[in-house]
């Protein structure tokens, strides 16, 4: 194992860099979410760092929480981080095809995070328009506090992030295309690699479009163009056009560009988790997937459909109702490969019910947690894909519950699984299993307690982004008790993560030394030999009976001869 050299172009070190960056982002993002949760139920409580949070302060927390989590955690960690860490060795390559590009991409991401966090410290504070930043709210500095310098910083930060992500996608695609070792045919790629391949294609298109959108919005704000801001704007009682003459534009353009990025982004966050789930299930059940081709096909189908369903975020946005029908049907169609994935995992569980290793180690527990969230978050997807139902549920807590279960919790549980699983590749040590199990069960309880009741709040009609549960209407005020319960669960969920941090730092120094292939896996990242002469001769996930136990058949035949 190469030593960790943070400033080198070594792919493992860059992977660890990305993961440490994501760890910073997730820590800040979680703290922000706790401040939000506390503010909702106790608006006048004095919070550390913020004091008494004003309504715009709450919205700034929302915006920054969403941005940190979506970009710097759910994109940075599963794709950029873990792909840098293990993808080259999984395909038998010694390095990325473009190692310097990989390093550039990481340092740009770091810069992007720094620029984003700087938004907290400028006059007016962080932007308040949510991570989707719909104009004209995001296009006009006078539209609210934080919409001046804070908004500019947000746009610049995301612009840099887009460049970094496109570069990273190029790096991944080139590596997978050109650096597979001898015998690593497409049909022998581990399913994680198929996921990263699909993800990289999505990243390439999605982030390119977002970059364009961000540049256009910056241009509207500073160069008097009129892409997103219509004529006749009256902000704070003032004619905007009088001071800022501009051409006639439409916010709908931003919505289309943003969601053309925004929806694939969901799959960018979750596709690597799906590949990981299949791999880890195969590993811990000692069984290959029932059908490798089926798993690859569903991954590709989800990726392809994922690019064509962005309009389901816009059913009530002012989009043509006929377009609503098309996007509704396309979205329903994506439920088919997604359900296929889930069925594939359940088939594996059923097939491997006798061969599975026991007791289940913590990475496997987290994958089962991922499956549980994937189902409980995913099954509300078909509901939201029906425009007539979305006309009631859109932008309520129902949606918040949906995407936090399917994207945030499923995604993060897969990330935890990946950390527990690949920790030996980063440190040469194993993480503590007992702490890992406590971490799993407490997190599972906290996550369900936090996000499942949100479905209920959404059915009751509570819109999201409300800083306070007050006002003249009964709908909002009646939610206080439910929201109090949610906040308590969120505190439990966040506290459980302390166990993870303790485990992480303790195990990195004192954990048990890991054997060469601690999980009895079959994929190439677990071969310590020099992969230069690697000759792949087996599909991933093969196990053979050896006496009365199942032993892994390493993909690489070179390794076999050594045994």
């Amino acid at each position: 194992m190469t030593p960790y050299r943070p400033f080198s172009a070594d792919h493992r070190s860059i992977g660890i860099n990305y993961l440490l960056l994501a760890l910073c982002a997730v820590t800040i993002g979680t703290l922000l979410s706790l401040f939000m949760r506390i503010h909702i139920i106790a608006p006048f409580l004095r919070l550390p760092f913020f004091g008494v949070v004003p309504p715009e302060g709450y919205l700034a927390l929302v915006t920054m929480h969403g941005t940190l989590m979506v970009f710097f955690v759910l994109t940075s960690a599963p794709v950029n981080g873990f792909a840098s860490l293990v993808l080259p060795s999984q395909i038998g390559a010694r390095s990325m095809a473009l190692p310097r590009l990989n390093a550039v991409s990481f340092w740009l991401t770091t810069l992007s995070l720094a620029v984003l966090l700087a938004a907290f410290f400028v006059p007016g504070g962080a932007p308040i328009s949510g991570w989707t930043n719909y104009p004209p709210l995001s296009g006009i500095a006078a539209a609210g506090p934080g919409q001046a310098t804070g908004m500019d910083l947000w746009l610049i930060s995301i612009g840099i992030f887009c460049i970094a992500s496109v570069l990273h996608a190029v790096c991944l695609l080139t590596t997978i295309w050109t650096r597979r070792c001898a015998g690593m045919f497409w049909a022998r790629l581990p399913l994680t690699v198929w996921s990263w391949l699909t993800t990289a294609v999505l990243m390439f298109f999605a982030f390119s479009v977002l970059l364009a959108a961000v540049v256009l919005l910056l241009s509207d704000r500073h160069f008097g163009t009129g892409f997103f801001i219509p004529k006749g704007e009256v902000i704070n009682g003032m004619m905007y056009d009088r001071l800022h003459p501009h051409a006639d534009g439409s916010p709908m353009l931003w919505l289309h560009l943003f969601w053309f990025f925004g929806h694939p982004e969901v799959y960018i966050a979750i596709l690597p988790a799906m590949g990981l789930a299949t791999s880890l299930l195969a590993n811990f059940l000692r069984r290959p997937p029932v059908s490798y081709r089926f798993m690859v096909a569903t991954t590709l189908a989800i990726g392809a459909f994922g690019l064509m369903v962005w309009g389901h975020h816009m059913f009530v946005s002012g989009m043509n109702p006929y377009a609503g029908t098309v996007f509704g049907l396309m979205t329903m169609a994506i439920a088919v490969p997604s359900s296929g994935k889930a069925l594939g995992w359940f088939a594996m569980l059923f097939q491997g019910r006798e061969t599975r290793i026991r007791p289940l180690p913590s990475p496997m527990l987290f994958i089962l947690g991922f499956l549980s969230f994937f189902v409980s978050g995913g099954l509300t997807g078909p509901i939201l894909a029906q425009p007539v139902l979305d006309a009631y549920l859109h932008n309520t807590y129902f949606v918040v519950g949906h995407f936090h279960l399917i994207m945030a919790m499923a995604g993060v549980f897969a990330l935890f699984a990946a950390v527990y699983y690949w920790f030996p590749l980063m440190t040469g040590r194993l993480m503590n299993d007992r702490l890992g199990k406590w971490h799993f069960w407490l997190s599972l309880l906290g996550a369900y307690g936090t996000f499942f009741p949100m479905y209920d709040a959404g059915l009751a009609g509570l819109p999201r982004h409300y800083a306070q549960l007050t006002g003249s209407t009964s709908t909002v005020a009646s939610m206080l008790r439910l929201q109090t319960g949610i906040t308590h669960s969120a505190l439990l969920l966040a506290s459980a993560q302390l166990l993870f941090l303790v485990n992480l730092f303790w195990s990195a120094r004192r954990g048990a030394i890991a054997p060469e292939n601690p999980w009895q896996a079959t994929t190439l990242e677990w071969t310590a030999s020099d992969l230069k002469e690697c000759q792949v001769s087996h599909s991933p996930y093969e196990y053979r009976f050896d006496g009365n136990a199942l032993s892994p058949v390493m993909q690489c035949s070179f390794q076999q001869k050594q045994e």
Partner: protein, 268 residues
């Protein structure tokens, strides 16, 4: 978990009562979705728990191993597994999703594909940070023109009504929406500044108000009562307090309300 369940049921459960003509069909569909998908959810979670709890004798593996292994890697067995556990259930789910999609799209088409009938009551809804305004055309049934440069809320002209336009003289501007029960209403929804979301949970109606565009939605309120109107699209620091009321009243009461407001405006 039971404590949590009881807590949820006690605090609030299910949607606010529906007061619109199109609502019951959509609610029925939502119920059906929640029940069917909820059962699937329970089934899946039960399977996960079953896998987790199931204990087999450690000897099983060695006894049945060779036989099992032969079966496992043979292609016919794999094909059987593929059909039984993946393809057949997937076909069943696809049929379910198709059914749901068709049912939902029929309702969507009924609600949205066609405009309101020409007899529908016309009301204009305008969102501004952080207030809703409702404009009725008055006795002449025509809205007066508005101009952005005339907008002046402190001077009593929040929508920028043009005083030179005779058609606007009888327009009525209100901060609550009052509608007669049993009559179709055609709402023209617009915004002066940023995107707002016009959301009436009790009417099962939601439509964004987008500056530069006028969106039309139509529905028929049926049951008199007071219904909250909320903003469902983040619109700035006052987003949460952008709430008002829809009052659905009997036709006679609506006429009275309208004439009172008309007089008030004439007196000005």
């Amino acid at each position: 978990m039971p404590v949590l369940g009881a807590f949820i049921i006690k605090t609030i459960w299910w949607m606010p009562p529906d007061g619109s003509l199109h609502g019951p069909a959509a609610d029925g569909l939502l119920w059906f979705n929640l029940v069917v998908l909820g059962l699937l959810l329970l089934l899946a979670q039960a399977l996960l728990i079953f896998v987790f709890l199931r204990r087999t004798h450690p000897n099983n593996l060695s006894e049945r191993g060779p036989k099992g292994s032969k079966g496992l890697f043979s292609s016919t067995h794999a094909k059987k597994l593929l059909w039984r556990y993946e393809l057949l259930p997937l076909i069943a789910l696809t049929l379910l999703y198709t059914g749901l999609a068709i049912a939902a799209q029929r309702l969507w088409a009924a609600n949205r594909f066609q405009g309101a009938s020409p007899q529908a009551l016309q009301v204009e809804v305008t969102g501004v940070q952080f207030q809703w305004y409702f404009r009725y055309p008055g006795p002449d049934a025509v809205f007066g023109s508005t101009r952005a440069e005339l907008v002046n809320a402190p001077a009593g002209n929040p929508l920028g009504l043009d005083p030179a336009d005779a058609r606007g003289q009888d327009d009525i501007v209100s901060s609550v929406l009052v509608l007669p029960a049993g009559r179709e209403v055609d709402l023209g929804i617009r915004s002066l500044d940023v995107i707002h979301g016009f959301f009436v949970p009790g009417m099962r109606v939601k439509q964004n108000a987008v500056p530069g565009m006028e969106m039309h939605i139509h529905f028929t309120p049926t049951i008199p009562g007071d219904y909250p109107i909320l903003c469902s699209q983040i619109c700035g620091s006052g987003h949460a307090r952008m709430q008002t009321h829809l009052r659905v009243v009997p036709e006679a009461e609506y006429k009275t309300w309208l004439s009172q407001h008309g007089r008030k405006r004439a007196a000005e």
